[in-house]
């Protein structure tokens, strides 16, 4: 019964999304065909869609997408590998947390884009630089959510493990880790969105010859290049962000549904 309702609700949402997309498409099409906006600035929506479909089978563009995803994914992995263990330790020990808050509060506000020149200086314009920047930007949401998640572990659950003879490490592994996992996942999900922005920004500023959506666009800023290409690139970047978000949300619901249900019961 609830499943049926859920399906109906999600199909209604899909319908609403499609309607919105259609309205946007028709609006843009009318706007450009009537030349209310100069076609030099904004090509007709139908032309953008056609170009988007064309670049999606263009090997050079696909390589650029793969390059961006590599920077994005590796950066996220590096960030998780650092932030999750660190967050576990800091969340577990109150003293460690207190000691580290100052450092966190000082480092966190630095916009990762402001570090691009430094990263270029240290690591060049290739994948390393992009991974480092993505990792830096992704570190904070994962770290803070992990710390929060570990601090949020129910003391009764922890005492239960202790009462059954679990030592500190076993309690950490068997209770704190799984019970904080939904928070860690949320951190990674938030970081995944930020990471895409940073990955493309690093490509746009860094340039270089390593493939990426940013560098691909940069190469198409010369005069004489079709504007449709640029818009198509933007559309794909947007779809990528949307796709990542949808996948991460679906994963959250699948893996950590128990978390919300447990909360709503108690």
């Amino acid at each position: 019964m609830t499943v049926g309702r859920g399906v109906r609700r999600s199909s209604r949402r899909t319908l609403r999304g499609l309607t919105g997309g259609l309205v946007l498409f028709v609006g843009l099409e009318v706007l450009t065909r009537a030349e209310l906006v100069s076609p030099t600035y904004l090509p007709p929506a139908s032309a953008v869609v056609a170009t988007t479909l064309a670049i999606l089978v263009d090997p050079e563009f696909l390589q650029a997408v793969a390059g961006t995803l590599a920077g994005w994914g590796l950066g996220l992995i590096v960030a998780s590998a650092i932030a999750i263990p660190l967050g576990l330790v800091l969340g577990w020990s109150w003293r460690g947390y207190r000691a580290s808050t100052t450092a966190i509060e000082l480092l966190r506000p630095i916009p990762s884009v402001a570090l691009i020149p430094l990263a270029i200086l240290l690591l060049g314009r290739g994948l390393d630089m992009r991974v480092a920047l993505v990792a830096y930007a992704s570190l904070w949401p994962i770290l803070l959510n992990t710390i929060y998640g570990v601090r949020d572990v129910d003391p009764v659950a922890r005492d239960t493990a202790r009462a059954f003879g679990f030592g500190t490490l076993a309690t950490l592994r068997r209770v704190s880790l799984p019970s904080a996992a939904p928070f860690m996942y949320t951190g990674v999900r938030v970081a995944a969105a930020v990471a895409l922005i940073v990955a493309i920004s690093a490509e746009l500023v860094g340039g270089g010859s390593t493939p990426g959506i940013g560098t691909w666009m940069l190469e198409r800023t010369q005069p004489g290049v079709d504007r449709e290409l640029m818009y198509a690139g933007i559309v794909v970047a947007g779809l990528l962000g949307l796709g990542i978000d949808i996948l991460m949300l679906a994963g959250e619901r699948r893996l950590f549904g128990w978390h919300h249900r447990m909360r709503s019961v108690s």
Partner: protein, 259 residues
């Protein structure tokens, strides 16, 4: 009483330094294999007392000894059924895995673990719910999972904190008899906290009555009723009625009228 298994001596506990004490001066002991009930008004410090016995909280004054050894950490072979059963179960695990988890710390074969989990769940009437998750169950069922987890662990010392407070009357009677049969089968020593006077008398060899907070022992009453106990026969005995009245009087006016 045979040799003392648990000795609580001048136990005092404060949650905050300088704050009001939760336990003032509590002394009593529990013999090997004995079933002792602790009754006291709500807020009198019963949970705090169990936490000290379990080694989860360090006494502010006095001490707890188990087999003559001062408790500083959780003693081996002890199980505690928490009052907050819902929060004590792990939501990311099935009922089966919740019951199984403590057994993984013990040197048991997979088969033996499987057997114990299955029989403990059957004992609390949850054999069919092994694959479900705690949050899919009602409060009473969750409480039975928590009890099954302790039963499967086969503890030498079993501490239970108001374990039957949230179940309906019929289930409650069943669980009381289950607690008694588990106790008899395993020969464990049981410390059973409740605020239900009937229950305290029905189950125990002895009832320790706590005063309102900060707790002291208001009285100890030896329950002189034959075993095995029976929900209908035992409760109809004149001795049951007298002893339940004695406990009730002590709870109303603690410190007055020691039997």
């Amino acid at each position: 009483m045979t040799s003392a298994r648990i000795e609580v001596e001048h136990l005092g506990y404060r949650y905050a330094a300088g704050g009001a004490p939760a336990l003032d001066d509590v002394s009593f002991s529990v013999g090997q294999g004995e079933f002792v009930s602790i009754v006291g008004p709500s807020g009198s410090g019963k949970t705090t007392l169990l936490r000290c016995v379990a080694g989860l909280a360090a006494p502010t004054s006095g001490e707890v000894r188990i087999d003559g050894v001062v408790v500083r950490d959780v003693p081996p072979g002890l199980a505690l059924v928490f009052q907050d059963y819902g929060r004590s179960l792990f939501g990311w695990m099935t009922v089966h895995d919740n019951v199984d988890l403590p057994l993984r710390r013990r040197a048991l074969s997979g088969e033996e673990r499987q057997r114990r989990v299955a029989s403990a769940l059957a004992e609390v009437g949850l054999a069919g719910s092994a694959a479900r998750y705690p949050w899919e169950l009602s409060g009473g069922m969750q409480q039975r999972v928590a009890i099954a987890r302790a039963v499967a662990y086969a503890p030498q010392i079993l501490l239970m904190d108001e374990p039957f407070a949230s179940v309906d009357a019929q289930t409650r009677s069943d669980l009381q008899d289950m607690a008694l049969s588990v106790w008899r089968a395993h020969g464990s020593t049981v410390l059973f906290v409740t605020h239900d006077i009937d229950e305290s008398v029905y189950l125990a060899d002895r009832v320790v009555v706590l005063s309102p907070a900060p707790a002291t022992v208001a009285a100890e009453i030896a329950v002189d009723l034959p075993r095995p106990r029976d929900q209908v026969e035992t409760r109809a005995m004149p001795a049951f009625v007298t002893q339940r009245a004695a406990v009730a009087r002590l709870i109303r006016r603690p410190g007055v009228g020691t039997p």
